[in-house]
Symmetry: C2
Subunit: 315 residues, 2 copies
């Protein structure tokens, strides 16, 4: 469950007075925040607490996460000269330390490493912040494919290095998260994005690799083919259909609609059952929400969902 | 091209000092605004200037369109008692007058009538305004299907009455626009939405019926089956694939990505060609953008797109 912390009072208390990006570079805080949802919900794995823009921050890009807005980049990336600002990541000691601490605390429970995928990173860099339509990103991608390729190549290097730090420090799996790639038709995903994401996924093939985006119903096959072992599915595509799209030899993850936590308890149960039923044909299915946890979520509802899934799948 | 006005200086000049909803109830203004994109772009049909919430306003629901926000409903709809606020629409003289004026001005050029579909209307009423995730709408829909059905029934009555006003006054076709329905999986669209949209589409079967939503790749078949003659397709699904999903006997409309107007001219041309190529198998294809016109669009780019399409399709 991504972004589960936002719904937890213990998370809000711990983060009080510390900026989002600062908290991602404090090993003790990362450790504690990563463990909180595990204690609260009893899930089967921990997902490393971080943010999509952390590796950019780690190499010195001037950006911040503004509450209520999202990542804001001081000087957006738009020209060839901007490529020089994307220097190689030479280790990330705070991340290494946090992962090592976590692995030691977690024992047999797996830790899933986390990174944003190049298209989504490019989107923040080119737009200068969140965008509803990725218009500048697309204008650059379609309009200057050579510059685009240079940008994506450097971002793939960065992302791979960031994931390698986590895997080398002991993470058991990784999740590559491409928030905005659902803005592309499959044909353009294959031409402008897929090879870069594939290079990252290949570079961490020593662990299971999960790949996810929102609104990516049209891309499920290609995101799997990019080298994922598990493809995350949002709540719009039923898991049996997702299995058909992803194809054989891969697992799917998802996909309870996270807004359902605002519906009556019986609805949550029914819809959880529906996801499990649709996953019957899905070998290796990993139950999850079909999107991040919403901040206003009552954590107890999620605790009950986890218990329900455990009960249903252990029977 | 929906929302084309926003990009036109002549539209902004005319709207100066008049609220969005007020302008929708002034026949002379509606007439002029509807004609502006036609004069500017040389498109083959006019789309009636209105707003999704106009029929709600017409029956006295207290709401306004707040610039930069969208529709805001003074008292959101959440209980059975709220249903009584949705009274029947007994004519809409300003709309009738505007359509009649337009039909007379337009001569042989068709006028497409316009209305929002019940799910999207319900979303504004239940949320109280625009929502990223339709959480309250879904909570009501899944949690109280009887109240939901009552709400959708009244909204379908209202929408049908609003479209009948336009058709009876001389509109040559209609577009039923379901902005937010892409938030539902197909299974739930069929259970909670389809019959209501279908009743509206059946009620205007004397004219061609276009049905459109954004992010509705998973719903194309069902939106066609609801009774549309033409299914609008956003830019994520190639038209040849859309034709397969929609099935025989129906046309598709779309789907140039509207953000491409920010890319270099050559990109716009290439992507226009691509849409036309993908539409080769699409009998009765109507070229359009795959989403509304963005406010910052340079109108001249759209003028050139229209000329390009005319040139290519008349050859």
């Amino acid at each position: 469950m991504r972004q589960a912390g936002r719904a937890l009072p213990e998370y809000r208390a711990l983060r009080e007075g510390t900026g989002m990006l600062d908290s991602c570079f404090r090993p003790d805080m990362v450790t504690e925040i990563t463990l909180q949802p595990l204690r609260r919900f009893g899930v089967d794995a921990a997902i490393f607490f971080s943010d999509i823009v952390v590796p950019l921050k780690a190499i010195g890009v001037d950006l911040d996460i503004v509450p209520g807005v999202g990542p804001v980049v001081a000087e957006p990336f738009r020209t060839r000269a901007d490529l020089d600002r994307l220097v190689p990541l030479e280790g990330a000691p705070e991340i290494t330390q946090a992962v090592q601490q976590l692995v030691s605390e977690l024992g047999a429970t797996p830790l899933i490493g986390f990174a944003g995928a190049p298209f989504t990173l490019a989107s923040y860099l080119v737009e200068g912040g969140p965008s509803k339509d990725q218009r500048r990103t697309k204008a650059l991608m379609y309009g200057d494919p050579v510059l685009w390729d240079g940008l994506m190549t450097r971002l793939a290097d960065l992302t791979l290095a960031f994931l390698r730090v986590q895997v080398d420090a002991g993470a058991s799996a990784v999740q590559l998260f491409d928030s905005w790639v659902g803005a592309l038709p499959a044909q353009d995903y294959r031409r402008y994005v897929m090879a870069h994401s594939a290079r990252i996924l290949t570079g961490v093939r020593d662990v299971p690799r999960i790949h996810f985006g929102v609104g990516t119903g049209e891309l499920l096959h290609d995101m799997g083919a990019a080298g994922a072992d598990v493809v995350g599915v949002d709540f719009r595509v039923p898991l049996d259909e997702a299995v058909r799209r992803v194809g054989p030899g891969k697992a799917v993850q998802g996909n309870l609609d996270p807004t359902l936590v605002f519906a009556p308890e019986a609805v949550v149960r029914t819809m959880t059952e529906r996801v499990l039923a649709q996953a019957k044909t899905a070998e290796g299915h990993i139950f999850n929400l079909g999107h991040g946890v919403l901040p206003e979520t009552d954590p107890d509802v999620l605790t009950r969902v986890v218990a329900h899934v455990h009960e249903a799948t252990s029977a």
